[in-house]
């Protein structure tokens, strides 16, 4: 054969240079980096809103957190002699989400501590992306809140520079607790509209429900998150606070106020849905969202802190292995175990 090949001048693949692998031999081309890039795109509306409302403070915090996170991850991979992983953009995503979770008055060192904690302690010490049991941004927010309660609650009214404590919508609840009238006032339509647009105090990226919603719809459109998680979480909060509000109108405002205020929206769409730290089955995702919703309501209404979303997410993260274990899915053909033995008699199924 070989002479003939040379005669006809036919080129053939050369053995020895071929790639050997198992099937399949094609992939759909999506990669971790592309997923993270898409997440970043979906974060853009929230980033834009934060800059709109908090101006230079937001820019400063975003730049700090993003660069600190990237440096922390790069430094870690250098120190442990691993291949650099910053190319998958996951550190950048963590940095941006963490920034959106910080108050406008956050000093640079708070950003640094939060970033290093999120990347090194929460992510890399557990083995890096994919192995971390907790969402880095949520865990970092919790850690900062516990360790640095002062700077973490230096709120500013949007687009003004005056630092006032307790000027957030959730802080307002605690201030007027006991008065049904005041609660009703909080839930008034024009107040809700303010919350929806984000023209209120709070962490730089969590105030505008609208911006987050746009990004969240993007996440769903790109199929980057399980829609069950935000749905279950928001629905649970709606039902839970709705019932409590009806039973005791002086204790807490109506459900819409809860959903639009604080970290519910950003938590539901960007933090609870972190694929590494959420259940893998659709049913598990529903349960997970529900757990976060309930915990959030309990902390908000009866807890010592006005806000409980990050706490709830971190607690629910810890429950993921359990949820995964309970919400497994049956393989194809499982239900027919009993039928298979019977066989199908001729003519029975046509």
């Amino acid at each position: 054969m070989s002479e003939e090949i040379e005669k006809n001048n036919i080129a053939l693949p050369e053995p020895g240079s071929l790639v050997l692998s198992t099937s399949p031999h094609v992939q759909d081309g999506d990669s971790i980096a592309r997923i993270m890039a898409k997440v970043l795109i979906c974060l853009l509306p929230a980033v834009a809103a934060s800059i709109w409302f908090f101006r230079f403070d937001a820019v400063r915090i975003l730049v700090y957190c993003a660069s600190f996170c990237i440096f922390a991850e790069y430094g870690w991979t250098l120190a442990t002699r691993q291949a650099a992983t910053i190319g998958d953009y996951s550190a950048l995503v963590t940095g941006v989400i963490l920034a959106l979770n910080l108050p406008p008055g956050a000093p640079w060192w708070l950003c640094l501590i939060g970033s290093v904690f999120a990347i090194i302690v929460v992510k890399e010490l557990f083995g890096g992306l994919g192995q971390n049991p907790f969402n880095p941004a949520a865990a970092a927010r919790v850690a900062l809140l516990v360790g640095f309660a002062g700077p973490m609650t230096q709120w500013a009214a949007p687009a003004t520079g005056s630092l006032v404590s307790g000027a957030t919508p959730l802080g307002a609840i605690h201030a007027v607790q006991g008065s049904a009238d005041a609660m009703a006032q909080l839930g008034a339509p024009d107040n809700l509209m303010k919350l929806f647009l984000g023209n209120v105090g709070g962490s730089i990226g969590e105030t505008s429900a609208l911006a987050i919603l746009i990004g969240g719809l993007g996440l769903m459109a790109f199929r980057l998150i399980k829609w069950q998680i935000p749905l279950a979480m928001i629905a649970t909060i709606f039902v839970f606070t709705g019932i409590v509000h009806l039973a005791a109108p002086g204790l807490t405002p109506g459900p819409l106020y809860h959903i639009l205020s604080g970290g519910v929206m950003i938590g539901a769409f960007f933090m609870a849905t972190d694929m590494v730290t959420s259940p893998i089955t659709p049913l598990g995702a529903l349960v997970f969202g529900g757990v976060i919703g309930v915990l959030t309501c309990i902390i908000r209404i009866w807890g010592a802190y006005p806000e409980g979303v990050s706490f709830s997410i971190v607690i629910a993260n810890a429950l993921v292995p359990l949820i995964d274990r309970m919400c497994y899915i049956r393989p194809f053909g499982w239900h027919s175990h009993s039928v298979s033995a019977l066989n199908i008699r001729r003519g029975e199924i046509k």
């Binding site: 053995p15 240079s17 790639v19 692998s21």
Partner: protein, 292 residues
Amino acid sequence: MLITILVSAGVVAAVGLILGALIGFTAKKFEVQTDPKIEAVQELLPGANCGGCGYAGCADFASAIVTKGADPSGCSACSDAMLAKIAEVTGKAAGKKEKMTAVVFCSGSFSRSARAADYNGILDCRSASIVAGGGGKACRFGCLGYGSCARACPFGAIEIRDGLAVVHPELCRACGKCVNVCPRKLIRLVPASAPIHVYCNSLEKPAKRRKFCKNPCLACKKCIRTDENHMQMQAGLVRVNYSNPPEASFVEQVKCPTGALQVEEIHRKIAALKPVEPAPKAAPAPKKEESK
């Protein structure tokens, strides 16, 4: 304020005391009566739980030694001194055993063997061996070099050098874990006193072996003709007769044409040499298209 602290501290202390007493009581009550001899023997065993003795672990083997009269020399990881101490405890002389060591019968490191393909997959020999062809090397019988044996060895006695597994006899305790894990069945336990081995496992047609490897055994039987007592054929392969192994100088005497018959130390040194060409990467980078 002070009182509150004192009271709570007192409560904590009281609860601790009660719980401690309870645990102590139950521990006493449900204590398993272990033979002190078993514990003594277990202390002396290496504690690596390698399973080489055929029992579930060192504790299991210790109780078998004391209660069932198992022979302590069944533990390949024990030194002779330790065996003597165990014999003191049990009062029974331990059987004699020869120190064994594992040998990887292959010399085909990445730089010394031909490549058949760029393997792109799990870097584990057992996983690689189920992909068609198995690994990147051309020889179907040699070491894959992805280190399943090294990961299985509880004593860290196997090192992967340039895509070839080499055993460090001074670390190997002959537990046999690596023997079972190697998908190419390349590893055997042999007496540690044997200084030379035939580092080849190929059953390929002898003519092809040269194409695949720099140091194949060509089965020319020169060594067997030199001294039939020292060398023999085993299942189609030329091997040292391990019940009567030759001296290291035998290698010079034979002048093996390919160097497959080699002194153990030299074999290890050759494997550690700098690769002539860079070793293939696991995930090959896309090469430039040929423009036509």
